[in-house]
Amino acid sequence: MDLAALKKLTPVMVTSTLARCVPRDALESHLPVDFLYTSGKAGRYNPAGLNCIYFSENAIVAVREYERRMSTLPGLIKPFLTYYAEVNLPVLDLEDAAVLKALDLEESDLFAPWPKSLGSASKTQQLGEVVSLQKEFAAIRFPSDAAHRAHETGFNFVIYPSSTKAPARLKIETGAISPSQEWPPI
């Protein structure tokens, strides 16, 4: 993955409300909730050790993601709560075919399995690492694998704290259950 290729691309400013569904029992289990906790565990767009947070573009995609996770558990689907993040972020949009071409990515790369442990990284994880090392882009908008498997179109966001600098902003709408949280920290 090439930092030089990334520098030729222009970020898309996204002002939106992102969503994530969490099992109710888990969310209510530790109040006040740290909605922006990052542990550095590997994800589709981050190799192990790189901190970031994932959200879905809207509540519908968030539910698809939740259903996919819960489909791997025996028994009935567990009740969930949805929480929201207000964002204003410069985004690298992987829906744009020209962006994929510039980054030498195929659509199949976006849905490929990704390594869970250290030692190797998928193309998407390498892209995440490169994005986390610069400040022009704070986030990546990428197709949801869960929506894709449900034959729908939907997108997720991955946001890197190291790249989120004002005026870029992410604010968790916590309602009354927790103090407000945001990146960059206030």
Binding site: S29, S39, K41, E65, R68, A121, Q125
Partner: protein, 239 residues
Amino acid sequence: MNYTEIRERSALPDLLVWDIAKKEVKEGLFVLIKILAKKQGGAAHPSLIIIRFPAAQIPDTTTLTKLLRPFPRPEQVEIRWRTPKMKVSDLVRVVDSKLTLMREQNESQALQRGPRPSPFDQSKKVLAVTGDLRVDNGNLSAARIAKLFGITESQIASWLGKSRQALNQAPAADAIQPELQFLERIARLRLLVSESDFRKWLKMPNELLEGKQPFELLASNQWQELADFVDDTLSGSPT
């Protein structure tokens, strides 16, 4: 490797040989050192870094100390000087055995270090779910974990690299707590499923684990990966 290549790597390679150019700017050198040191700190695998200076430009001891200070594992950094006779291929051959031993040592220590922190470590409700795996002094018990996971004590002893007799005598010994913490993290899934469904889940092929059963990951000591997977499930992380 150049500056961009080093920055762009997601993790350090097992061996990195960095030849300092004759006209390397000192400030640039320190910037690169900081990047390498950060990556070394974030890496769970051993990585040997060899920094080679032109023969006539070996820095003084004070500068060398300053160069090595940012590295969390300075013992995995070597300073050498470049000579026309010492090719990189020869160097690789020389350090290969050292790398092999470092990898062996790292693998054997990975489980003994315990799992990385989880967002649920401070959650009383989550910890209450696995409270029955602990004995009176708060330590986790291998016998109780084996019962929950539906495995024999011989099997858990084998996972832990202990004899069954040793485990029988001290199933909640301090020495095995880091390894047992991985299994406690995995057992937190019981926040969402019953005990019998948890055992069922362990044996179900899981599409988010590339079709493998969680049990297969346990048997191959991929405990951190499975603990992370449970965290992702509890926190609703997109797939």
